[in-house]
Every structure is written in structure tokens, then in C-alpha cells.
């Protein structure tokens, strides 16, 4: 009886592991990268198409920048451990890779490349579903680029 209980527990535990593995293989996410040009001249108004990050753009972090312009936006459909890379209108490229999904958190790797395809940044972070990360400081024209990376579970 005791042996039977142990065997049943072991099978149940193995089954749970297998279920988790299958779930991991199906992990996928949807991300949007918004490319913003921040310039030091302007009246400080955030355009309507950037209202979703207005509180961030008008924070002290970006106090030096008085105008913001949406340059480009790209959607990414990410499958687990699959690199996706897209080029923006400025020539910069962003690579995204879903590293895993744990509960409500997504683990993502983001790489930024210059117009000459020189890597400028590579980072891996965990973030809540629908969370937003800003990658800023990339020189372009007479301003700086900000990439708003937002991902949600699919």
C-alpha cells in the first residue's frame, strides 16, 4: 500500500513536470517596439500617438527634451527562444527573443543595433505582462532615440 502510494505520487509528479514542459514549449508573446525621436527644442507637447507613454516622456528623466515624434513602430510575435529582428525607419534594428514565461512575468532579451548594424545594447530582463521598458539615448539626427518595448503574453 505504501509502495503503491509512493508510485502514484511519483507518476503524478512526473505528469506535472511533463505538463509544465509542454506549457513552456507553447509560451509565446506579442511585443510592440515604438521608436520615438526626442529633441531639445519644442514646446514640450506630447503628440496624441505617444500619449500612452506621456507620463514617462514628461518625467524628469527626459526633462532635457522638449519635443517627441513617433518615428516608427513594429510588432513582434515571439515564440520561445526564437530571435526576431526588425529594422526601423532610421536604420536601427531591434532584436527580441522570448526567453520564458513564468506566471505573469515574461523574460525577454532585447538587442539594439545601429544603422550600420553595430550592436549598441543587449539586455535580458523579466517584466510583468504588458509591462513597458524604455531604451534611450541613441543618437539620431538632431535628437535622441527612445525605444519603448512592451510585451504581453499571447
Amino acid at each position: 500500500m505504501k509502495t503503491k502510494n509512493i508510485l502514484l505520487s511519483a507518476v503524478a509528479f512526473a505528469g506535472a513536470l511533463g505538463t509544465a514542459s509542454v506549457a513552456k514549449a507553447d509560451d509565446s508573446a506579442q511585443c510592440r517596439v515604438t521608436q520615438v525621436l526626442a529633441k531639445k527644442d519644442g514646446d514640450g507637447t506630447v503628440p496624441r500617438n505617444l500619449k500612452f507613454i506621456e507620463s514617462e516622456l514628461t518625467s524628469d528623466q527626459f526633462a532635457a527634451y522638449k519635443s517627441f515624434e513617433l518615428l516608427d513602430a513594429k510588432d513582434y510575435k515571439l515564440d520561445l527562444n526564437v530571435d526576431k529582428k526588425q529594422r526601423m525607419k532610421t536604420g536601427h534594428s531591434l532584436g527580441l527573443k522570448l526567453l520564458g514565461v513564468t506566471g505573469s512575468k515574461l523574460k525577454v532579451n532585447v538587442s539594439v543595433f545601429s544603422a550600420k548594424q553595430k550592436q549598441l545594447l543587449s539586455t535580458a530582463y523579466s517584466i510583468e505582462n504588458k509591462g513597458l521598458v524604455l531604451l534611450a539615448g541613441y543618437k539620431h539626427a538632431d535628437g535622441k532615440l527612445i525605444f519603448a518595448v512592451q510585451c504581453q503574453k499571447r
Binding site: Q61, V82, Q86, L120, S126
Partner: protein, 234 residues
């Protein structure tokens, strides 16, 4: 020759040399020159000096670039003209506003503007006010949002095909029209746990913004070691 007469002769010599003596005095001095060889020698010395200095100045003048000379002369001339205009401006009484208006009316420009305004008035009277947009139409037009060069949903460009990386790389997203981009929820709970960051040789830092969406992580890259304008540097 006593001292005072010597001084007088010296004075007369220079005056004679400069042509400042009247005819009678000059004639008298010329007889003095004939009687005093030393005085005549002094006079000849002065003549020699004059010729040498004169030739030197002429030679120096010939070396000046003609164009440079013209330029300098033009600048001097312009300066004189400016001074003259200033003097006249001060001398003339200020012109009244009516004087200026009457002067403007006499110009062809004023006639042209007046003619155009008269023609427009005639057209308006003949055709009537009904030709233009109505007040309600104009109000409706003003209520419409101004056309925005950028759509609310950003356009998606065609993504280039990608070279394979060590992990399997799928093709890039196919291009989408702006309206076809999926709705994306507003950001929430943005605090990220950054596990790895590689600034690829550049300077960088991680900071946070406390805002509407909780704490938002900002990863700054500093290209070319330029100073970063941020709250820390303000």
C-alpha cells in the same frame, strides 16, 4: 651773426622752403641766401631731404595693391557719406505720420494695393456673400481634428529578411497597414528586473521613472562618451 638774427634766418628759411613767405619777403630772403653760403647749403639740404622723402613715399605707394587702395578709399568714402547722412538726418525735422502716409500713397505699390482692394470689394458686392463657405460649414470644419501627418497607429514598414543566427530565426513580420496593427494594451506594472545588460563598449546606466504605470525602467546608452542630459546632470 648774433643768435637772434640766426634764429630769424632759420625761421625765414623754413618759411621760404614751405612757400609761406609773401613775395616781397621771399625776394629779400633770396638775396640773403646769395650772401650766406651756409644758409644756402642748409636750404639745399632741405631740398635734398624733400626729394628723398618724396621718392620714398611714391615708391611705397606704388607697392600698395591697387585694389587694396581702392578698397581702402571706398571704405573712407563710405565713412564720409555716412557722416554726411547722419548730419542731414539730425538737421532735418522728423517727418510726421501723415507725411509718410501721403508719401506712400503716391507710390505705385499703394496704387496697386488700392486697386486690388477695390476690385475685391466690387466682386463681393456683385457676387454677394453666398459664394464662400457657410458659418456652420466653417464651424464643422474647425471641429474636425487637423489632419495629422502621422496616423494614430504607426505605419509598419516591410521588414527585410534576416540572416540566420545561432538560434533558429524566423522570418520577420510581414508588413502591415497602419489600421491592421493589433490593438495593444496600455502599459502596466512596468518595473523590470534587469538580469543582464551589455552596453557593447558604451557607457550606460539603468534608471527608473515613477509614474502612471508604476515604476518604468529606463536603460540609457551613452554613445561617444557625450554628456547625458538627465535629472542627475540638471
Amino acid at each position: 651773426m648774433n643768435r637772434s638774427s640766426q634764429e630769424q634766418l632759420e625761421h625765414d628759411l623754413h618759411a621760404y622752403f614751405d612757400g609761406e613767405l609773401d613775395d616781397a619777403t621771399a625776394t629779400q630772403f633770396e638775396s640773403e641766401l646769395a650772401e650766406h653760403p651756409a644758409l644756402k647749403a642748409r636750404f639745399e639740404d632741405l631740398q635734398f631731404l624733400r626729394s628723398v622723402v618724396g621718392k620714398t613715399l611714391e615708391s611705397a605707394g606704388e607697392q600698395v595693391d591697387a585694389a587694396r587702395f581702392e578698397q581702402a578709399w571706398d571704405a573712407f568714402d563710405a565713412h564720409l557719406d555716412r557722416e554726411a547722412r547722419l548730419k542731414h538726418a539730425v538737421a532735418e525735422p522728423p517727418v510726421s505720420i501723415w507725411g509718410r502716409v501721403s508719401a506712400f500713397i503716391k507710390t505705385p505699390v499703394a496704387w496697386g494695393v488700392g486697386g486690388a482692394a477695390a476690385a475685391a470689394a466690387v466682386v463681393f458686392l456683385v457676387v454677394g456673400p453666398g459664394a464662400g463657405p457657410s458659418n456652420t460649414q466653417m464651424a464643422d470644419a474647425s471641429d474636425q481634428p487637423a489632419p495629422n501627418a502621422k496616423a494614430d497607429e504607426p505605419e509598419a514598414d516591410a521588414a527585410p529578411s534576416l540572416a540566420p543566427s545561432p538560434t533558429h530565426v524566423a522570418d520577420a513580420e510581414s508588413p502591415k497597414a497602419p489600421d491592421a496593427m493589433t490593438e495593444f494594451p496600455l502599459p502596466e506594472a512596468n518595473n523590470a528586473d534587469v538580469e543582464i545588460v551589455d552596453f557593447a563598449g558604451h557607457s550606460g546606466r539603468i534608471s527608473h521613472i515613477d509614474g502612471k504605470h508604476g515604476t518604468t525602467t529606463v536603460i540609457w546608452v551613452q554613445e561617444d562618451d557625450e554628456s547625458v542630459d538627465s535629472e542627475r546632470s540638471l
